[in-house]
Symmetry: C2
Subunit: 236 residues, 2 copies
């Protein structure tokens, strides 16, 4: 297992669905698994993006802060960045970019990350309002999300692609988070148009899937009743 | 990631379904990931079980050999054994043992391994006939399996349990392989009754899922058309 070909994942998308939102890894622990990543805080406390080892949180008011090593997360991805150039693009919508990059990377059946830097237009992000125990379901919590938009903004998009086979454990397909160059705008990406930018990618041959086995609520939950796929599609 | 809490998996159950049966890891490489494990050979060449670092193959004639480091596999699991005692059992059918151990381990939502040593009755195993390229589907190949039975036999059963969320990547639920103490009987387990034996278990917090990214056939395959779950249920 090479350092640069491994994607680390703590928790699963599926555990968010019934509201198992207790933080089960600290940011300090996560940063040992990578200098680049995405995630969400305990109780779905905002959207996280790690760039060059620095963990930014976009909260439900759109405020951006660098979180401490003690910050806890129920779900996160991280890897050590070593991206290779893939394409230079102009005037591309999100769906079109996803399709083009999937075709170009020829990596539909493995995990990979995209990094897109440039100017974005009509970018729409969201961040969820932190909930407190007893936690409600992902669908319920996601209804209380804030939506943010910007028309012209320079920044970086970090994306993870997971094969459809792993939908439920991860988000099947692409999962984008964004941070502006001025560190004043970001979040979980719902839509965008790339005005002009560079796309680089990093292919993984290994998913290191870590599960919160010390968390009683997770270990004792009956997942059979949860509509994992439906809920992920509605919320992500 | 601790050595003893990680389950290594090379390939996915899903890739066997359409017949992507080329060997993409050698036994030498696999043994670096564990001293205990299960797997199948290239072209579904028999059923493998690794005990104390020794890799045994049961072929379609029931013959058992220790394979070399160069032996290739399309799919395998391995881990470093550090089992803890879980139960002493008498006169238990397979389904009942599975249910009891799931309840006792309280580990339904993570990966774990069982090791059962003792006397088995009415044990039924199978081994598949090796196929050559162009490979046919798993369902097609599995129809050509040999079935072996023994009434009273001492041996070791190695089992991996995977949460249902990972069905398709792995076998959701239990996946048992067997080897007799005299090393003359074994294979993929279809049925058994444990006359008297000891069950020990080992819990994993991490699945290290390795994918054959250098294999063109795997990377270019369109999995959308495959009935992964149906085929696994019929064949495993």
């Amino acid at each position: 297992m090479s350092k640069y070909t491994t994607l680390y994942q703590h928790g699963t998308l599926a555990l968010l669905v019934p509201g198992l939102l207790e933080g089960t890894i600290t940011m300090g622990q996560l940063l040992k698994r990578g200098d680049t990543g995405i995630g969400t805080g305990e109780g779905l406390d905002g959207e996280l993006i790690i760039l060059d080892g620095k963990p930014y949180q976009v909260n439900s008011k759109g405020k951006i802060t660098v979180v401490s090593d003690k910050f806890k997360l129920p779900f996160a991805n991280a890897h050590f960045a070593r991206y290779s150039p893939l394409a230079e693009l102009e005037n591309v919508e999100q769906d079109d970019l996803n399709k083009q990059m999937l075709a170009l990377s020829r990596a539909e059946n493995t995990f990979f990350s995209l990094k897109v830097t440039g100017t974005f237009a009509d970018i729409k992000t969201r961040a969820v309002v932190k909930s407190e125990p007893p936690y409600s379901t992902l669908a319920e919590t996601a209804r209380k999300q804030s939506i943010f938009t910007r028309d012209q903004i320079d920044g970086t998009l970090i994306s993870y692609y997971s094969p459809q086979l792993f939908n439920g454990a991860a988000v099947g397909g692409f999962h984008h988070h964004f941070m502006s160059d001025d560190r004043k705008f970001g979040g979980h990406v719902l839509d965008f148009r790339l005005v002009k930018g560079e796309v680089s990618y990093q292919l993984f041959d290994t998913l290191e899937q870590h599960l919160p086995v010390d968390n009683k609520a997770y270990m004792e939950h009956d997942f059979e009743k949860d509509d994992i796929e439906g809920s992920i599609q509605a919320s992500e």
